[in-house]
Amino acid sequence: MEIIELEGEKAVVSRGGLKVRADVRFIDRPRKGDYVMVHAGFAIERVKPERAKEILEYVREMEELK
């Protein structure tokens, strides 16, 4: 979910129009626009969009190794 509002440890995160409150105290230097995994009302980890294709990369590596 994307952080769209941020004030101290309190954030509003959004995905597909759904907006919920999330506490971001476990995230190192959170910023608006960060993607986070939210669990029990807390952002538990920052999601790295640049790794979105990791399984495609895994398959590619797998094919190269074969």
Binding site: D23, M37, A40, G41, R51, E54, I55, L56, Y58
Partner: protein, 381 residues
């Protein structure tokens, strides 16, 4: 064009030829995802997935539910907990039944909401029933710390948090049945990181792969496990790097360790597991609902004949239970595995009607460890 899943399936068929393996998906969210995606039907004969103990509601012992129920009957007490806990049967009742009788039991989304209740209604005693693994216990720890910091005197905590690694080690040490590899939780791993799985793979020679929740991610984890088993190089691999950092989340771990100490804890169906639970640290005893309130508990009783205890430890499949679908359904659950959205029985019931998928026979050559076969553990599909 060949899809990612087709490529992974083809690789798996090729790599798993002649192997008979039991791979455990530790986490209940994986169990649900596996069934929802129909992934089991794509697995080659000989690769069998078994559900593990990673459904927090399912492993909560009846005594904890009984204590929450007893607390809810006390005058002026509010119980705050997650929705799945309401339907979990205790020895004689459930929180949902108690709510129907007038008890003040509130479903929360975040543990911090229980603090809001306590602040808004200072005359009530608000008890947070904290179930869950590391990912949920870190938010609970934050609530405990905040209550202490803000001096909220009417907030209490009933601890039912669990640690996932001791349960995995317990299953391997018990040797009741063979586990050839672990598909490791996507959520709890965000907190604990890859390190603990490295220790498991090193100490027990069992490979571990952290996986996401898409079908392709779980399938890739199965492929990686099979390749490691085939090549006899058990290791810990992170295939969910876009979320799980190798070192986990140190801030969340610090929050947990500041609020809780590690204690032995009872798991439904698995008995007491060393260092597998959390208790409030010294300095927070004033909010320990387990100690602050005197309640009389009924003798703990499992629903007669319910196999949930075996299902959570991978020793039985839901269909082995005589009540599965016959007297035990998600609408009218007898045991917690049918209650929880992450419970194996609920997943089998909702998505697994067309058969449990291929069955593996105990293999001699393919397993890293030759442990007793399934017959002893009661598996019989």
């Amino acid at each position: 064009m060949i899809s990612t899943n087709e490529k992974l399936s083809a690789r798996l068929r090729d790599a798993a030829a002649g192997m008979n393996l039991r791979l455990m998906e530790v986490c209940g969210t994986h169990t649900a995802a596996i069934f929802r995606s129909g992934l089991r039907s794509f697995l080659p004969a000989g690769i069998r997935l078994v559900a593990g103990p990673g459904c927090p509601v399912c492993v909560t012992p009846p005594e904890t539910v009984d204590r929450a129920i007893a607390l809810s009957r006390l005058k002026g007490v509010t119980i705050a907990t997650f929705g799945d806990m309401l339907k979990v049967p205790g020895s004689a009742s459930s929180l949902r039944e108690e709510r129907g009788r007038g008890a003040d039991i509130r479903v929360i989304y975040s543990p911090l909401e229980s603090l809001e209740f306590a602040r808004a209604e200072p005359a009530r005693k608000v008890v947070l029933l904290g179930v869950g693994f590391e990912t949920t216990i870190a938010p609970a720890a934050a609530a405990v710390a905040e209550a202490a910091r803000s001096g909220i005197g009417n907030f209490y905590f009933l601890s039912a948090g669990r640690r996932v690694i001791p349960a995995m080690e317990h299953l391997l040490k018990s040797g009741d049945f063979r586990i050839d590899g672990f598909i490791c939780p996507g959520h709890a791993s965000t907190v604990i990181g890859l390190g603990p799985y490295r220790r498991i793979s090193r100490n027990f020679k069992v490979p571990c792969v952290i996986a996401g929740f898409e079908a392709s991610e779980i399938l890739a984890a199965v492929v990686e496990l099979v390749l490691m088993i085939r090549d006899k190089r058990p290791a810990a691999v992170n295939l969910y790097r876009r979320v799980v950092a190798p070192r986990g989340n140190p801030r969340a771990r610090r929050a947990i360790s500041e609020a809780f100490r590690i204690v032995d804890a009872e798991w439904r169906g698995m008995g007491t597991i060393e260092k597998s639970g959390y208790a409030l640290r010294r300095g927070f005893e004033a909010m320990d609902a387990g100690k602050r309130f005197e309640v009389v508990l009924p003798p703990p009783r499992e629903p007669a004949g319910c196999l949930c205890g075996k299902v959570v430890s991978g020793a039985a499949d839901p269909a082995d239970c005589e009540f599965f679908g016959r007297g035990c359904t998600p609408e009218r659950p007898l045991g917690p595995c049918m209650v929880a959205s992450e419970g194996a029985c609920a997943a089998w019931f909702r998505y697994g009607r067309f058969g449990p998928g291929p069955e593996a026979e105990p293999g001699k050559d393919t397993a890293l460890k030759n442990q007793p076969d399934y017959e002893k553990s009661g598996l019989r599909i």
